[in-house]
Point group: C3
Chain length 363, copies 3
């Protein structure tokens, strides 16, 4: 894999300077760059490492003096972070899965594989499954009965897709991701304590021992186009209709999406986020790592939650939330500033009580 | 799969009305129902969608006027949510795993398979394992040495059961669930900082760099009857004796149950819950999603924790808990109401100080 | 597997008393011990169970009167918890994986296997992978292209190692652990709301709908010696350079380590911990279960976080932290003591206002 500086710049829509015929075989941090690496120094602070490395060419910030930095060539992109998307796609060495259907894979005779589909060793494709053109089903993956994947999908090792799941084009799933587990839905013969607590907001009343009956998931999962799923992340089936994931949704490792959840387009769900059953998440939402969202609520478009926010109630569109329970970020910052100063406040109030009420102040 | 309205009502112990000979092939939300679907409209609000769909029959709330809703037949169950358990079991199309032992499965000659056991493609069953009658070991599952599963178990694709694990009847596990990983137990040659902090409640004193030695898990895991486990959920082995899961326990996706933990009967453990080592959980407990429970503590029977509750100390039976650190739900609601009003309280106290002490109020 | 009391004591560097020729085949809790079990009663409280069991020999606390406890032999170790490491290693019955390369494993011709390597049934080892002497690759594992594992590694069933991952000696991974998923790194064509919020600390301004472009991970993962990983835990690849895990790091089940993260030596990462991208964790750190650490921050050496601590900013070396957002443990205890007493404080201040300002106190 080798590109000239000129080729790279052209493909990124970036400007190239100097000897643009230099051949590039990889990218590296400045201090660790070899002679054929493109050093990444998109901020002045990163350029300090250039003398330690051997890069002849670098990707730099707008206005950088590449010659003064001792380089023979440079690329300058208007939004360097966005340029990384194109650059990293060009330079990705990939997983090296061999093309074609591996002889050890178990593909049901009734499954329909499109053109140029790769099926890795020891993968299983069940009856009635449909795989779109150019998709890659990695080693040891499982594709369930009547599941449908679109074109250009890429499933890493050990991804599991359950029966009747429908997935659009260009789906990417990291190792161990699972789509289509049964939803977690159980019911007791009589009203349970949890139902009582929800009605009374706190009082369980008489505790009664009951066993649970399971509610089977009759729905499956529908996933749009350009969706990604992280390692060991999970999406559960819906109870009656499908759980629905919109287009362009990105889900990180170990995230959990419960039954009946609906996620809007271009929403980002970071690692270890949990979304409980029947909750709706809008478009262009960002849920920070370890965010938790209660069941049966609604998160509006463009909402952002900070890391570990626990959302227990509806959030209107556009809010930036933080904390447990979730508050508007400004309120959270204020409230926790106060929390840290509480011991002092108690002392102040005790002193006031003593002064005013002639009381002991010792509560 | 087709049932008459009469058959369905009979099997649910529900009442049927109208043309009970209508043939039903599935269930659906009212607006999406086809002519042979049973529409689910167990609350009046859900019935609004009926005209948009084509359902001839519906499951309705007690007292509903099915004829006025334009239906030809109706089913009314005394507790509709509970009826869903039976109805969903009847209508579940399942995963379609082919019966019998797939030729690609690797079953050790010394493993004992009961009658009518299914072993999916590329599953591995190790030496000495015992699988009860009618159990289904899904594709790519692993059953370890001397592990025992009861009758009527159902393991989805890629479930992993370690050596010497004992599991009762009707166990259900979603994709990627693992039982019998080693417990997380490490020890330093000399007292560690964590041990010091636990003793002193906050002071680590002199920090010393030490490496960890592992404590192997000599116990395994014992699981009762009618237990369920979610996708990619984990139960670890005990150190000396088995980690123990009671009867009827339901564990959701990505939950973690540490070494030596004991979980009582009919306890519900929601998604991403973590229970640290050697903690005991009572019967009929409900741990809401993302709840965390410290090691070596005790949670009494019938305790309920709200989503993301972090339990750092014992909880007596019957309590409803919320927050981090966990408080009784009423106290939590009170405390956080106060937290949001803290900035105002600081201003009030500053004003009071000024008025009373003639002080500046600026702390 | 059978050892004399004398042998066990010698191997643990412990003292033996009484009939040290007694043959021991296992260890057990005192009440459950059989005649050939070594009972574990390292604290006086545990010795109460001895009469209920049948143990002839026990591991006891320093100074215990073994004869008065009715035993024929005893072992006394200076630090009993540390002795458990050696004792449990001796007594571990293991997983029973058969030695050698199973005929169903798919090992690429270009992979290099050291001496005495075990490869379990249905494991896949890709082109260019290198496995060190004595390592065990469990059933259904996946080792990616050009990945390197050192000597004496032990991978349980279904562990997945991606392309170009480098792992040292004696690595242990529990079922379903994954190393080398792609990092979660996405970028919008124009500045996103998250970027705006980070700049303004709270104001997203005009919300604009944008789709994400993925940044591929060009780095891989480098793991030191003596590292352990729990079931279904995940370590992601770095963006440009490798994500780096030091020597002696222990990672529990379902933990998540993001792209570019660096973890120092002998650090303990408990279950369900999440470390976001590009964060650096020092040496000898302990992150309690469900701890969350924001991206791009730094945690100093010897830091300890209590369960579910959410670290949103740098933490200097040696700190003991708790809470969300993380505070020093003493401050947290103080602040939350205050939080619980807030309702009373509001009443006190209202009374003061009434007394002082003749105001209504109703805010």
């Amino acid at each position: 894999m080798s590109f000239t500086v000129k080729d790279i710049a052209a493909s990124l829509g970036a400007e190239a300077f100097g000897d643009v015929s230099i051949s590039i075989t990889g990218v590296a941090e400045p201090a660790m760059a070899g002679a054929s690496d493109l050093a990444l120094a998109m901020k002045p602070a990163f350029a300090k490492g250039l003398p330690e490395g051997q890069a002849q060419a670098a990707m730099l910030w707008a206005g950088a003096d590449w010659q003064a930095l001792g380089l023979k060539a440079a690329i300058v992109a208007p939004r360097p972070r966005f340029a990384m998307a194109g650059l990293s796609a060009m330079m990705d060495a990939g997983q090296g899965y061999a093309a074609g259907v591996h002889p050890s894979a178990i593909v049901d005779a009734s499954a329909k594989l499109g053109a140029d589909v790769t099926v890795g060793p020891l993968a299983v494709i069940a009856a009635g499954a449909v795989i779109g053109d150019g998709s890659v089903i990695g080693p040891q993956c499982f594709i369930g009965m009547d599941a449908t994947l679109g074109q250009g999908c890429f499933l890493r090792e050990g991804v599991k897709i359950g029966a009747r799941v429908t997935i659009g084009d260009r789906f990417i799933a990291q190792p161990g991701a699972t789509v289509g587990g049964d939803g977690f839905s159980f019911v007791t013969p009589e009203e349970s304590n949890v139902e009582k607590v929800r009605d009374s907001l706190g009082e369980a009343g008489e505790a009664k021992a009951q066993s649970y009956a399971r509610i089977h998931s009759l729905g499956s999962v529908s996933v749009g186009n350009d969706v990604e799923m992280g390692a060991n992340a999970c999406i559960d089936c819906g109870t009656v209709r499908d759980t629905r994931i919109g287009n362009g949704v990105k889900i990180d490792n170990l995230a959990q999406i419960g039954h009946n959840v609906e996620v809007g387009n271009d929403t980002l769900i970071c690692a270890q986020v949990g979304i409980a059953g029947s909750t709706r998440i809008g478009h262009n939402v960002v849920l920070g790592g370890q965010t938790g969202v209660s069941d049966n609520i609604f998160i509006g478009d463009h909402v952002i939650t900070g890391g570990a926010t626990k959302v227990l109630a509806n959030v209107p569109a556009g809010r930036v939330m933080l904390g447990y329970p979730a508050m508007k970020m400004e309120s959270h910052v204020e409230a926790y500033k106060g929390l840290r100063r509480l011991p002092r406040l108690f002392r102040d109030v005790a002193a006031l009580k003593k002064a005013v009420l002639n009381a002991d102040g010792n509560d």
